[in-house]
């Protein structure tokens, strides 16, 4: 939210610094439209309210016996999803978000329930859900609807994979999500200046991808450790570690690590430290989120990454098939190693500071 004076100051700043032509009316219209800078409290209230209302409505439909009229449910579902998109495009107001979320969830649920019975194929139901959510994402301009669409697309994919028993595809899905998340974070300037529609979708899609990646990583790790389903999760870990190496390589320019020998030494150290975590893709994946969240200043990603990292590393050590003594040696040695690195970097930092 900005006052008129602040908007003018902003416009003047960029016109002066970068010599760009600004559509002042368009800028003012966006700031006055109240669709920017939603406080987290309002977002959470809207989502919870929407979910609660949709659950109550679905229970009502179930109790009134309407669930046996599948064609009516399908029609209602499709109408609700179209209405959610149309409503948010026509009345782009934050206060109507919970209503939009409600009818979107109702629409998606009714579509899913009816298609499952009409098509007699769970796979076709998931595919339909994916296409419907993709269509919603294409046409919606609302943050919450777009965010939920991304989650729905991911959910549809997971449903397809698990229903058909293609567990080997889960690590591939996780790798794809890692790559896509990295791309979306790194290409922010390109995306937000590409065109208006994609720019408006950026924040919600990025947030959706972060949560999808976290769920995907946990699913792959869970399958490896808890369900003992061997699904090549190690490939996902190697991919995540490679992604981190790529990101760190680029960060070295910022950190002014210019000698190639130092760069290679640092990257080798990172790879060696992460090698033992290959059985748990969640560790390298959440570390990637931490790096992305910190560098690109996205606090939610950073917090999600840190919490995910603590959880995944705890789970990893808990599930390791070693004695407590071996685990204690591993942990203590790692701790000493990190503390040694801390004191070395402290010394380098202080000596450069004096220079």
């Amino acid at each position: 939210m900005r006052t008129n004076d602040e908007i003018q100051e902003l416009i003047n700043h960029f016109q002066f610094i970068d010599d760009i032509v600004v559509d002042e009316a368009g800028v003012r219209a966006e700031y006055q439209g109240n669709t920017l800078e939603q406080p987290l409290a309002i977002k959470i209230l809207s989502v919870f309210g929407g979910i609660m209302a949709s659950v109550f409505f679905l229970v009502f439909l179930g109790l009134s016996g309407l669930f046996q009229y599948y064609w009516i449910l399908l029609l209602l579902g499709v109408t609700a999803m179209i209405a959610a998109v149309w409503w948010t495009r026509k009345y782009d107001l934050i206060m109507l978000d919970s209503f939009s979320v409600c009818i979107f969830i109702i629409g998606l649920s009714l579509m899913g329930l009816s298609l499952q019975e009409l098509l007699k194929s769970e796979s076709l139901m998931y595919l339909s859900g994916i296409f419907a959510s993709l269509a919603t994402l294409t046409f919606s301009r609302n943050y919450l609807i777009s965010f939920l669409s991304v989650l729905a697309i991911y959910g549809g994919h997971v449903g397809l994979i698990l229903h058909n028993g293609f567990h080997d595809l889960l690590p591939i899905q996780a790798m794809f999500l890692s790559a896509l998340t990295l791309f979306v974070f790194m290409r922010e300037p390109y995306i937000v200046t590409a065109n208006e529609t994609i720019s408006r979708l950026y924040n919600s899609v990025r947030m959706g991808l972060v949560f999808c990646l976290l769920m995907s990583l946990n699913m792959v790790t869970l399958e490896e450790f808890d369900f003992d389903i061997k699904s090549n999760g190690w490939a996902c870990s190697i991919f995540n570690i490679s992604a981190m190496v790529f990101l760190i390589w680029r960060l070295m320019v910022l950190l002014e690590v210019n000698e190639n020998s130092k760069r290679i030494l640092l990257l080798t150290a990172v790879v060696l430290i992460l090698l033992p975590t290959i059985p748990s893709p969640a560790i390298s994946g959440t570390l990637l989120l931490v790096l992305l969240g910190f560098h690109y200043d996205h606090k939610t990603t950073l917090v999600v990454g840190i919490v995910g990292f603590i959880y995944s590393i705890s789970q990893y050590y808990y599930d390791l098939n070693f004695t407590l003594l071996t685990k204690s040696i591993l942990l203590f040695t790692s701790g000493v190693g990190f503390l040694a690195l801390y004191f070395i970097t402290q010394k380098i930092y202080l000596s450069h500071g004096k220079d």
């Binding site: 700031y31 209302a53 009502f60 109790l63 701790g335 503390l339």
Partner: protein
């Protein structure tokens, strides 16, 4: 004026700004710079080092625990407690490190009591253990002025109460227990708000106050929902009046301190309570539709009011 990511996105959509200009603007105003990264790397290495090393030590003692002599067990726990307290008293260390050490010492008080109870098989009820832990760490908690330690202490008191109601006061109704929890947590919430308002040097961080607010709201919501199903319990009116008073105070505080968080959780709590009440009282199919509509309408109205407040506060600034 601090330029944010949102400003750059708006300009990206409404100007001739190209990707290079957007990238420069994001690098200058949004993305982390070299100094932030160096600080982050240092703190991460320290946190990872301490976390892994301490976990390694804990695992080592877990491995050897059964074989240790009883004096070694108690002595070890006691030594760690003394060491943590000694670290907290070193004046040359930073205040934050000393407070973290004191928090560690408060946790180790519980470890000492647990070890003693395990070695001598005192057969004490769990609530005795938590009560003793709370009593013996009270002074440190009071002088520490450290929110995480206060949080630990509030958790201790709640756990003591829960254990007491399960092991000793088994005739207490669930509503009675919830009422006491509500009073206990409300006391800390009101005390924190009061201290923050009148003693600026002891101001509690927002996350602590918000977490307490969420806890109080959660207990009040669950308490009233339980009461809806057991309305004849004598403590039900007490919970209702206490909740109303607290929520009134919460709304006042939210508006005074410009905190949308309090308004949001109070609104959500009241909407949930209303929904459960109507569904229970009027047990009909159509009531689910009414409650669905009631939820949407109320959330929309509350969000509208919150947006209006946000706009007013921004312009007053």
């Amino acid at each position: 004026m601090q330029i944010t990511r949102e400003d750059i996105h708006v300009l990206g959509r409404n100007s001739s700004m190209g990707k290079e200009e957007a990238e420069n603007a994001l690098k200058v105003h949004v993305y982390s710079d070299k100094i932030s990264w160096l600080r982050f790397i240092q703190w991460s290495l320290l946190a990872l080092g301490v976390g892994f090393a301490v976990s390694g030590i804990l695992f080592f003692f877990a491995y050897n625990w059964a074989g240790l002599h009883r004096f070694s067990k108690i002595g070890l726990a006691g030594t760690l407690l003394v060491a943590a307290t000694a670290v907290a008293l070193i004046p040359t260390l930073s205040l934050l490190l000393r407070k973290i050490a004191l928090t560690g010492a408060a946790v180790l008080v519980g470890v000492v009591f647990a070890t003693y109870g395990q070695v001598y098989q005192t057969g004490a009820d769990a609530y005795d253990f938590f009560l003793a832990w709370a009593v013996f760490s009270l002074i440190w908690v009071a002088v520490s002025d450290f929110a995480p330690l206060w949080l630990l202490y509030i958790w201790l008191l709640n756990t003591t109460l829960a254990m007491y109601s399960q092991q000793v006061a088994t005739d207490w109704s669930s509503l009675m227990v919830m009422s006491i929890h509500l009073v206990l947590n409300s006391f800390f919430l009101i005390a924190s708000l009061g201290i923050s308002s009148y003693f600026k040097w002891a101001e509690m961080p927002n996350w602590f106050i918000n977490l307490l607010g969420l806890t109080v709201s959660g207990i009040a919501t669950v308490g009233i929902i339980v009461g809806i199903f057991e309305p004849k319990v004598p403590t039900f009116p007490f919970i209702i009046f206490t909740t109303l008073a607290l929520y009134g105070l919460g709304v006042w505080h939210g508006i005074q301190k410009r905190s949308l968080f309090f308004l949001a959780i109070i609104a959500l709590s009241l909407i949930i309570i209303g929904a459960v009440f109507f569904l229970y009282r009027f047990n009909q199919q159509g009531m689910w539709l009414v409650v669905s509509l009631h939820t949407i309408v109320l959330v929309t109205l509350v969000v509208r009011y919150m947006l209006k407040l946000q706009k007013e506060w921004y312009h007053e600034n």
